[in-house]
Amino acid sequence: MTSTSIFTPEGMYRFAGKLAVPCLVSAAIVALIAFYLGFFVAPVDVTQGNSYRILYIHVASAWMAMLLYVLMAIFCILGLVTEKKLWPMIAASLAPTGALMAFLALWTGSLWGRPTWGAYWVWDARLTSALILFFFYLGYLALQNAIPDWRRADKACSVIGIVGVINVPIVYFSVQWWNTLHQGASLTSSGSSIHPIMLTALLVMVAAFWLYTFGATFARLRSIILEREKGEEWAQELALKGEL
Protein backbone atom coordinates (compact mmCIF):
# COMPACT_ATOMS: atom_id res chain seq x y z
CA MET A 1 0.00 0.00 0.00
CA THR A 2 1.48 3.31 -1.02
CA SER A 3 1.55 6.31 1.22
CA THR A 4 0.39 8.69 -1.49
CA SER A 5 -1.23 11.79 -0.12
CA ILE A 6 -4.95 12.05 -0.83
CA PHE A 7 -4.29 15.50 -2.22
CA THR A 8 -2.90 14.00 -5.40
CA PRO A 9 -4.94 12.48 -8.21
CA GLU A 10 -3.72 9.00 -7.37
CA GLY A 11 -4.36 9.29 -3.66
CA MET A 12 -7.72 10.92 -4.13
CA TYR A 13 -8.74 8.24 -6.62
CA ARG A 14 -8.32 5.55 -4.01
CA PHE A 15 -9.83 7.64 -1.22
CA ALA A 16 -12.88 8.61 -3.23
CA GLY A 17 -13.25 5.03 -4.34
CA LYS A 18 -13.65 3.91 -0.77
CA LEU A 19 -16.20 6.57 0.07
CA ALA A 20 -18.38 7.02 -2.98
CA VAL A 21 -20.76 4.11 -2.57
CA PRO A 22 -20.99 4.33 1.25
CA CYS A 23 -21.95 7.99 0.89
CA LEU A 24 -24.68 7.19 -1.60
CA VAL A 25 -26.04 4.36 0.49
CA SER A 26 -26.12 6.45 3.66
CA ALA A 27 -27.73 9.23 1.67
CA ALA A 28 -30.60 6.92 0.82
CA ILE A 29 -30.99 5.82 4.42
CA VAL A 30 -30.88 9.33 5.84
CA ALA A 31 -33.32 10.47 3.17
CA LEU A 32 -35.75 7.78 4.26
CA ILE A 33 -35.44 8.96 7.84
CA ALA A 34 -36.07 12.53 6.73
CA PHE A 35 -39.04 11.39 4.71
CA TYR A 36 -40.49 9.56 7.68
CA LEU A 37 -40.02 12.57 9.94
CA GLY A 38 -41.37 14.93 7.35
CA PHE A 39 -44.43 12.99 6.34
CA PHE A 40 -45.38 10.87 9.30
CA VAL A 41 -44.29 12.87 12.32
CA ALA A 42 -44.67 16.45 11.19
CA PRO A 43 -48.28 17.62 11.20
CA VAL A 44 -50.28 19.30 8.47
CA ASP A 45 -49.68 23.00 8.04
CA VAL A 46 -52.54 25.27 9.01
CA THR A 47 -52.37 27.56 5.99
CA GLN A 48 -50.76 25.46 3.29
CA GLY A 49 -52.17 22.02 4.02
CA ASN A 50 -49.96 19.21 2.84
CA SER A 51 -48.32 21.09 -0.02
CA TYR A 52 -45.79 22.58 2.37
CA ARG A 53 -44.07 19.19 2.56
CA ILE A 54 -42.28 20.11 -0.65
CA LEU A 55 -40.30 22.47 1.58
CA TYR A 56 -37.98 19.69 2.67
CA ILE A 57 -36.57 19.03 -0.77
CA HIS A 58 -36.98 22.59 -2.05
CA VAL A 59 -34.99 24.23 0.71
CA ALA A 60 -32.46 21.38 0.73
CA SER A 61 -31.79 21.65 -3.00
CA ALA A 62 -31.70 25.47 -2.90
CA TRP A 63 -29.16 25.50 -0.09
CA MET A 64 -27.06 22.86 -1.86
CA ALA A 65 -27.14 24.84 -5.08
CA MET A 66 -25.79 27.91 -3.32
CA LEU A 67 -23.28 26.13 -1.10
CA LEU A 68 -21.90 24.05 -3.94
CA TYR A 69 -21.29 27.15 -6.02
CA VAL A 70 -19.32 28.70 -3.20
CA LEU A 71 -17.44 25.44 -2.65
CA MET A 72 -16.70 25.25 -6.35
CA ALA A 73 -15.34 28.79 -6.30
CA ILE A 74 -13.09 27.96 -3.36
CA PHE A 75 -11.54 25.07 -5.25
CA CYS A 76 -11.21 27.33 -8.29
CA ILE A 77 -9.25 29.81 -6.21
CA LEU A 78 -7.09 27.02 -4.78
CA GLY A 79 -6.46 25.76 -8.28
CA LEU A 80 -5.30 29.14 -9.55
CA VAL A 81 -3.21 29.90 -6.50
CA THR A 82 -1.46 26.58 -5.84
CA GLU A 83 -1.23 25.04 -9.32
CA LYS A 84 -2.03 21.63 -7.85
CA LYS A 85 -3.81 19.44 -10.38
CA LEU A 86 -6.42 18.12 -8.01
CA TRP A 87 -8.22 21.32 -7.05
CA PRO A 88 -9.66 22.19 -10.48
CA MET A 89 -10.66 18.55 -10.86
CA ILE A 90 -12.75 18.82 -7.70
CA ALA A 91 -14.32 22.06 -8.91
CA ALA A 92 -15.20 20.41 -12.21
CA SER A 93 -16.75 17.44 -10.44
CA LEU A 94 -18.92 19.67 -8.25
CA ALA A 95 -20.38 21.76 -11.04
CA PRO A 96 -22.84 19.32 -12.64
CA THR A 97 -24.31 18.24 -9.32
CA GLY A 98 -24.61 21.87 -8.29
CA ALA A 99 -26.41 22.66 -11.52
CA LEU A 100 -28.75 19.76 -10.90
CA MET A 101 -29.52 21.08 -7.42
CA ALA A 102 -30.27 24.49 -8.88
CA PHE A 103 -32.65 22.93 -11.38
CA LEU A 104 -34.37 20.93 -8.66
CA ALA A 105 -34.72 24.05 -6.54
CA LEU A 106 -36.51 25.68 -9.45
CA TRP A 107 -38.70 22.68 -10.20
CA THR A 108 -39.74 22.03 -6.61
CA GLY A 109 -40.16 25.73 -5.98
CA SER A 110 -42.43 26.00 -8.97
CA LEU A 111 -44.59 23.08 -7.84
CA TRP A 112 -44.78 24.54 -4.36
CA GLY A 113 -45.66 27.93 -5.78
CA ARG A 114 -48.65 26.75 -7.74
CA PRO A 115 -50.82 25.72 -4.77
CA THR A 116 -49.37 28.46 -2.56
CA TRP A 117 -49.45 31.51 -4.83
CA GLY A 118 -51.58 30.26 -7.67
CA ALA A 119 -48.93 30.25 -10.38
CA TYR A 120 -46.14 27.92 -11.47
CA TRP A 121 -43.76 30.79 -11.79
CA VAL A 122 -43.68 34.00 -9.81
CA TRP A 123 -40.95 36.58 -9.96
CA ASP A 124 -40.24 36.50 -6.28
CA ALA A 125 -36.78 37.04 -4.89
CA ARG A 126 -35.89 33.43 -4.18
CA LEU A 127 -37.10 31.77 -7.36
CA THR A 128 -35.60 34.50 -9.51
CA SER A 129 -32.24 34.32 -7.75
CA ALA A 130 -32.34 30.54 -8.08
CA LEU A 131 -32.91 30.91 -11.80
CA ILE A 132 -29.95 33.24 -12.14
CA LEU A 133 -27.78 30.91 -10.09
CA PHE A 134 -28.79 28.17 -12.49
CA PHE A 135 -27.61 30.38 -15.36
CA PHE A 136 -24.28 30.87 -13.59
CA TYR A 137 -23.88 27.11 -13.42
CA LEU A 138 -24.84 26.70 -17.06
CA GLY A 139 -22.28 29.33 -18.06
CA TYR A 140 -19.59 27.51 -16.14
CA LEU A 141 -20.50 24.16 -17.71
CA ALA A 142 -20.77 25.69 -21.19
CA LEU A 143 -17.34 27.24 -20.90
CA GLN A 144 -15.87 23.98 -19.68
CA ASN A 145 -17.41 22.14 -22.60
CA ALA A 146 -16.33 24.68 -25.18
CA ILE A 147 -12.60 24.55 -24.45
CA PRO A 148 -11.08 21.22 -25.42
CA ASP A 149 -7.76 21.67 -23.58
CA TRP A 150 -8.72 20.91 -19.99
CA ARG A 151 -5.80 22.89 -18.60
CA ARG A 152 -7.05 26.04 -20.24
CA ALA A 153 -10.66 25.10 -19.53
CA ASP A 154 -9.94 24.73 -15.82
CA LYS A 155 -8.29 28.11 -15.58
CA ALA A 156 -10.95 29.86 -17.62
CA CYS A 157 -13.69 28.24 -15.55
CA SER A 158 -11.87 29.26 -12.40
CA VAL A 159 -12.02 32.88 -13.47
CA ILE A 160 -15.71 32.75 -14.30
CA GLY A 161 -16.39 30.75 -11.15
CA ILE A 162 -14.74 33.38 -8.98
CA VAL A 163 -16.41 36.26 -10.79
CA GLY A 164 -19.68 34.39 -10.50
CA VAL A 165 -19.44 33.74 -6.81
CA ILE A 166 -18.71 37.39 -6.09
CA ASN A 167 -21.86 38.18 -8.01
CA VAL A 168 -24.11 35.66 -6.28
CA PRO A 169 -24.71 37.82 -3.20
CA ILE A 170 -25.00 40.93 -5.38
CA VAL A 171 -27.60 39.27 -7.57
CA TYR A 172 -29.43 37.95 -4.54
CA PHE A 173 -29.51 41.37 -2.95
CA SER A 174 -30.60 42.95 -6.23
CA VAL A 175 -33.44 40.56 -6.77
CA GLN A 176 -34.60 40.84 -3.18
CA TRP A 177 -34.71 44.56 -3.51
CA TRP A 178 -36.57 44.15 -6.71
CA ASN A 179 -39.24 41.96 -5.32
CA THR A 180 -40.30 40.92 -1.88
CA LEU A 181 -43.17 38.57 -2.50
CA HIS A 182 -41.65 35.40 -1.17
CA GLN A 183 -42.25 34.80 2.51
CA GLY A 184 -39.46 36.25 4.56
CA ALA A 185 -36.57 33.98 5.47
CA SER A 186 -38.01 31.49 7.93
CA LEU A 187 -34.63 30.32 9.09
CA THR A 188 -32.90 33.44 10.25
CA SER A 189 -30.42 33.89 13.04
CA SER A 190 -33.13 35.39 15.17
CA GLY A 191 -34.79 32.03 15.45
CA SER A 192 -36.84 30.08 13.00
CA SER A 193 -40.52 30.49 12.61
CA ILE A 194 -41.27 26.96 11.51
CA HIS A 195 -42.42 24.10 13.62
CA PRO A 196 -39.49 22.31 15.33
CA ILE A 197 -40.41 18.91 13.90
CA MET A 198 -40.46 20.36 10.40
CA LEU A 199 -37.12 21.99 11.07
CA THR A 200 -35.64 18.69 12.19
CA ALA A 201 -36.97 16.87 9.16
CA LEU A 202 -35.58 19.62 6.95
CA LEU A 203 -32.12 19.44 8.48
CA VAL A 204 -32.07 15.67 8.16
CA MET A 205 -33.06 16.01 4.50
CA VAL A 206 -30.26 18.55 4.01
CA ALA A 207 -27.86 16.00 5.51
CA ALA A 208 -29.15 13.41 3.05
CA PHE A 209 -28.57 15.82 0.16
CA TRP A 210 -25.03 16.50 1.40
CA LEU A 211 -24.28 12.79 1.52
CA TYR A 212 -25.67 12.33 -1.96
CA THR A 213 -23.54 15.21 -3.20
CA PHE A 214 -20.41 13.74 -1.68
CA GLY A 215 -21.15 10.38 -3.27
CA ALA A 216 -21.92 11.76 -6.72
CA THR A 217 -18.97 14.15 -6.61
CA PHE A 218 -16.54 11.43 -5.54
CA ALA A 219 -17.81 9.22 -8.35
CA ARG A 220 -17.46 11.97 -10.93
CA LEU A 221 -14.07 12.95 -9.58
CA ARG A 222 -12.84 9.41 -10.10
CA SER A 223 -13.92 9.49 -13.73
CA ILE A 224 -12.29 12.87 -14.25
CA ILE A 225 -9.06 11.59 -12.73
CA LEU A 226 -9.08 8.56 -15.02
CA GLU A 227 -9.71 10.77 -18.03
CA ARG A 228 -6.96 13.22 -17.25
CA GLU A 229 -4.36 10.87 -15.86
CA LYS A 230 -4.58 8.48 -18.80
CA GLY A 231 -0.91 8.87 -19.53
CA GLU A 232 0.29 8.39 -15.97
CA GLU A 233 2.01 5.22 -14.87
CA TRP A 234 -0.01 4.65 -11.72
CA ALA A 235 -3.27 4.78 -13.67
CA GLN A 236 -2.09 2.48 -16.42
CA GLU A 237 -0.79 -0.02 -13.88
CA LEU A 238 -4.13 -0.12 -12.11
CA ALA A 239 -5.91 -0.60 -15.41
CA LEU A 240 -3.67 -3.45 -16.49
CA LYS A 241 -4.03 -5.15 -13.13
CA GLY A 242 -7.79 -4.82 -13.41
CA GLU A 243 -7.96 -2.96 -10.11
CA LEU A 244 -9.66 0.19 -11.37
Partner: protein
Protein backbone atom coordinates in the same frame (compact mmCIF):
# COMPACT_ATOMS: atom_id res chain seq x y z
CA UNK B 1 1.71 53.95 -16.07
CA UNK B 2 -0.43 56.88 -17.16
CA UNK B 3 1.55 57.08 -20.39
CA UNK B 4 0.80 53.45 -21.06
CA UNK B 5 -2.88 54.07 -20.34
CA UNK B 6 -2.97 57.06 -22.64
CA UNK B 7 -1.09 55.26 -25.40
CA UNK B 8 -3.42 52.24 -25.41
CA UNK B 9 -6.48 54.47 -25.11
CA UNK B 10 -5.49 56.61 -28.07
CA UNK B 11 -4.63 53.55 -30.11
CA UNK B 12 -7.95 51.84 -29.47
CA UNK B 13 -9.91 55.05 -30.10
CA UNK B 14 -8.06 55.65 -33.35
CA UNK B 15 -8.74 52.13 -34.52
CA UNK B 16 -12.40 52.42 -33.55
CA UNK B 17 -12.80 55.74 -35.33
CA UNK B 18 -11.20 54.36 -38.47
CA UNK B 19 -13.77 51.64 -38.49
CA UNK B 20 -16.71 53.86 -37.67
CA UNK B 21 -19.19 51.28 -38.85
CA UNK B 22 -18.64 49.31 -35.63
CA UNK B 23 -19.84 52.16 -33.49
CA UNK B 24 -22.67 53.07 -35.81
CA UNK B 25 -23.83 49.48 -36.04
CA UNK B 26 -24.03 49.22 -32.26
CA UNK B 27 -26.07 52.38 -31.97
CA UNK B 28 -28.29 51.42 -34.86
CA UNK B 29 -28.94 48.01 -33.34
CA UNK B 30 -29.86 49.72 -30.08
CA UNK B 31 -32.37 51.97 -31.79
CA UNK B 32 -33.89 49.17 -33.83
CA UNK B 33 -34.39 46.88 -30.87
CA UNK B 34 -36.04 49.57 -28.80
CA UNK B 35 -38.24 50.48 -31.75
CA UNK B 36 -39.37 46.90 -32.16
CA UNK B 37 -40.91 46.79 -28.71
CA UNK B 38 -43.81 49.20 -29.27
CA UNK B 39 -44.37 47.48 -32.60
CA UNK B 40 -44.66 44.18 -30.83
CA UNK B 41 -46.71 45.41 -27.88
CA UNK B 42 -48.96 48.12 -29.25
CA UNK B 43 -48.96 51.91 -29.02
CA UNK B 44 -50.66 52.22 -25.64
CA UNK B 45 -48.79 55.23 -24.31
CA UNK B 46 -49.34 54.49 -20.67
CA UNK B 47 -47.97 50.98 -21.02
CA UNK B 48 -45.01 52.20 -23.02
CA UNK B 49 -44.16 54.82 -20.44
CA UNK B 50 -44.13 52.10 -17.80
CA UNK B 51 -41.86 49.69 -19.60
CA UNK B 52 -39.54 52.22 -21.23
CA UNK B 53 -36.67 52.12 -18.72
CA UNK B 54 -36.55 48.34 -18.72
CA UNK B 55 -36.73 48.09 -22.48
CA UNK B 56 -34.02 50.68 -23.02
CA UNK B 57 -31.73 48.96 -20.56
CA UNK B 58 -32.24 45.48 -22.01
CA UNK B 59 -31.54 46.85 -25.47
CA UNK B 60 -28.41 48.53 -24.15
CA UNK B 61 -27.24 45.24 -22.66
CA UNK B 62 -27.73 43.45 -25.95
CA UNK B 63 -26.03 46.20 -27.94
CA UNK B 64 -23.07 46.14 -25.55
CA UNK B 65 -22.90 42.38 -25.89
CA UNK B 66 -22.76 42.65 -29.66
CA UNK B 67 -19.83 45.00 -29.50
CA UNK B 68 -17.71 42.91 -27.11
CA UNK B 69 -15.74 40.83 -29.61
CA UNK B 70 -14.23 44.10 -30.83
CA UNK B 71 -12.37 44.45 -27.54
CA UNK B 72 -9.79 41.73 -27.94
CA UNK B 73 -10.52 39.60 -30.98
CA UNK B 74 -8.70 41.74 -33.49
CA UNK B 75 -5.64 42.14 -31.31
CA UNK B 76 -5.69 38.44 -30.58
CA UNK B 77 -5.87 37.57 -34.26
CA UNK B 78 -3.01 39.74 -35.44
CA UNK B 79 -0.68 39.01 -32.55
CA UNK B 80 -0.83 42.42 -30.92
CA UNK B 81 -2.28 40.94 -27.79
CA UNK B 82 0.64 38.59 -27.43
CA UNK B 83 3.00 41.52 -27.79
CA UNK B 84 1.13 43.31 -25.07
CA UNK B 85 1.49 40.27 -22.81
CA UNK B 86 5.19 39.91 -23.56
CA UNK B 87 5.93 43.58 -23.17
CA UNK B 88 6.11 43.29 -19.40
CA UNK B 89 3.79 46.25 -18.98
CA UNK B 90 1.06 45.90 -16.36
CA UNK B 91 -1.74 44.07 -18.12
CA UNK B 92 -4.50 45.50 -15.92
CA UNK B 93 -3.62 49.03 -17.04
CA UNK B 94 -3.82 47.95 -20.66
CA UNK B 95 -7.18 46.31 -19.96
CA UNK B 96 -8.60 49.38 -18.24
CA UNK B 97 -7.49 51.55 -21.13
CA UNK B 98 -9.10 49.24 -23.68
CA UNK B 99 -12.30 48.99 -21.67
CA UNK B 100 -12.41 52.76 -21.30
CA UNK B 101 -12.04 53.13 -25.05
CA UNK B 102 -14.81 50.57 -25.49
CA UNK B 103 -17.09 52.52 -23.17
CA UNK B 104 -16.37 55.77 -25.00
CA UNK B 105 -17.34 54.12 -28.27
CA UNK B 106 -20.28 52.09 -26.99
CA UNK B 107 -21.70 53.22 -23.66
CA UNK B 108 -21.48 56.93 -24.35
CA UNK B 109 -23.16 56.80 -27.78
CA UNK B 110 -25.91 54.62 -26.31
CA UNK B 111 -26.40 57.02 -23.42
CA UNK B 112 -26.64 60.01 -25.72
CA UNK B 113 -29.02 58.36 -28.17
CA UNK B 114 -31.34 57.27 -25.38
CA UNK B 115 -32.59 60.85 -25.22
CA UNK B 116 -34.46 60.05 -28.40
CA UNK B 117 -36.44 57.44 -26.57
CA UNK B 118 -37.93 60.11 -24.42
CA UNK B 119 -39.91 61.03 -27.51
CA UNK B 120 -40.69 57.48 -28.52
CA UNK B 121 -42.05 56.55 -25.15
CA UNK B 122 -43.46 59.90 -24.16
CA UNK B 123 -41.31 60.25 -21.06
CA UNK B 124 -41.31 63.45 -19.11
CA UNK B 125 -38.17 65.46 -18.47
CA UNK B 126 -37.33 64.05 -15.05
CA UNK B 127 -37.63 60.44 -16.14
CA UNK B 128 -35.51 61.14 -19.21
CA UNK B 129 -32.80 62.76 -17.12
CA UNK B 130 -32.88 59.81 -14.72
CA UNK B 131 -32.66 57.37 -17.62
CA UNK B 132 -29.71 59.12 -19.21
CA UNK B 133 -27.89 59.55 -15.91
CA UNK B 134 -28.38 55.92 -14.95
CA UNK B 135 -27.07 54.82 -18.33
CA UNK B 136 -24.10 57.12 -18.02
CA UNK B 137 -23.17 55.77 -14.61
CA UNK B 138 -24.03 52.17 -15.40
CA UNK B 139 -22.78 51.49 -18.93
CA UNK B 140 -19.16 51.25 -17.73
CA UNK B 141 -20.26 48.08 -15.92
CA UNK B 142 -21.37 46.65 -19.24
CA UNK B 143 -17.93 47.23 -20.72
CA UNK B 144 -16.06 46.07 -17.62
CA UNK B 145 -18.00 42.88 -17.02
CA UNK B 146 -18.21 42.24 -20.73
CA UNK B 147 -14.43 42.37 -21.02
CA UNK B 148 -14.15 39.33 -18.73
CA UNK B 149 -16.48 37.31 -20.95
CA UNK B 150 -14.73 38.49 -24.09
CA UNK B 151 -11.32 37.52 -22.74
CA UNK B 152 -12.43 34.10 -21.52
CA UNK B 153 -13.86 33.09 -24.87
CA UNK B 154 -11.04 34.33 -27.11
CA UNK B 155 -10.49 31.92 -29.91
CA UNK B 156 -13.09 29.49 -28.61
CA UNK B 157 -15.57 28.02 -31.05
CA UNK B 158 -18.99 29.59 -30.76
CA UNK B 159 -17.37 32.33 -28.73
CA UNK B 160 -19.92 35.11 -29.01
CA UNK B 161 -22.91 33.03 -28.01
CA UNK B 162 -20.90 31.63 -25.14
CA UNK B 163 -19.91 35.16 -24.14
CA UNK B 164 -23.57 36.11 -23.95
CA UNK B 165 -24.33 33.14 -21.74
CA UNK B 166 -21.48 34.06 -19.41
CA UNK B 167 -22.01 37.80 -19.33
CA UNK B 168 -25.79 38.35 -19.33
CA UNK B 169 -26.39 36.85 -15.86
CA UNK B 170 -23.63 39.11 -14.57
CA UNK B 171 -25.41 42.13 -16.07
CA UNK B 172 -28.53 41.52 -14.04
CA UNK B 173 -27.74 43.68 -10.97
CA UNK B 174 -26.91 46.76 -13.03
CA UNK B 175 -30.02 46.14 -15.12
CA UNK B 176 -32.24 45.96 -12.06
CA UNK B 177 -30.91 49.10 -10.46
CA UNK B 178 -30.27 51.06 -13.64
CA UNK B 179 -33.78 50.57 -14.94
CA UNK B 180 -35.08 50.87 -11.41
CA UNK B 181 -33.71 54.39 -11.11
CA UNK B 182 -35.80 55.72 -13.98
CA UNK B 183 -38.79 53.68 -12.89
CA UNK B 184 -38.58 55.12 -9.40
CA UNK B 185 -38.62 58.64 -10.81
CA UNK B 186 -41.56 57.79 -13.05
CA UNK B 187 -43.69 56.76 -10.07
CA UNK B 188 -42.49 59.66 -7.97
CA UNK B 189 -40.43 57.66 -5.50
CA UNK B 190 -36.94 58.60 -4.35
CA UNK B 191 -34.35 57.27 -6.75
CA UNK B 192 -31.17 58.23 -4.94
CA UNK B 193 -30.60 54.74 -3.59
CA UNK B 194 -30.76 53.31 -7.10
CA UNK B 195 -28.19 55.75 -8.41
CA UNK B 196 -25.91 55.13 -5.47
CA UNK B 197 -26.05 51.38 -6.02
CA UNK B 198 -25.39 51.69 -9.74
CA UNK B 199 -22.41 53.87 -8.90
CA UNK B 200 -21.23 51.30 -6.38
CA UNK B 201 -21.54 48.54 -8.98
CA UNK B 202 -19.45 50.58 -11.39
CA UNK B 203 -16.73 51.25 -8.85
CA UNK B 204 -16.75 47.65 -7.75
CA UNK B 205 -16.46 46.42 -11.34
CA UNK B 206 -13.68 48.91 -11.98
CA UNK B 207 -11.66 47.42 -9.16
CA UNK B 208 -12.37 43.73 -9.70
CA UNK B 209 -13.03 43.10 -13.38
CA UNK B 210 -9.76 44.29 -14.94
CA UNK B 211 -7.88 41.84 -12.74
CA UNK B 212 -10.15 39.00 -13.86
CA UNK B 213 -9.88 40.09 -17.49
CA UNK B 214 -6.10 40.26 -17.32
CA UNK B 215 -6.01 36.76 -15.85
CA UNK B 216 -8.36 35.53 -18.56
CA UNK B 217 -6.20 37.10 -21.28
CA UNK B 218 -3.11 35.34 -19.97
CA UNK B 219 -5.02 32.05 -19.95
CA UNK B 220 -6.24 32.58 -23.49
CA UNK B 221 -2.85 33.40 -24.87
CA UNK B 222 -0.98 30.47 -23.38
Amino acid sequence: MFRLFRAVLIRDLTLALRQKSDILNTVFFFIVVVTLVPLGIGPDQQLLRLIAPGVVWVAALLAALLSLPRLFANDFADGTLEQMLLSGEPLTVIVIAKVFAHWLTTGIPLTVISAVFALMFDLNAEVTVALITALFIGTPVLSLVGSVGAALTLGVRGGSVLTSLLVLPLYIPVLIFGAGAAEAVSVGVSSSAYFLIVGALTLFSLVVMPIATAAALRIAAE
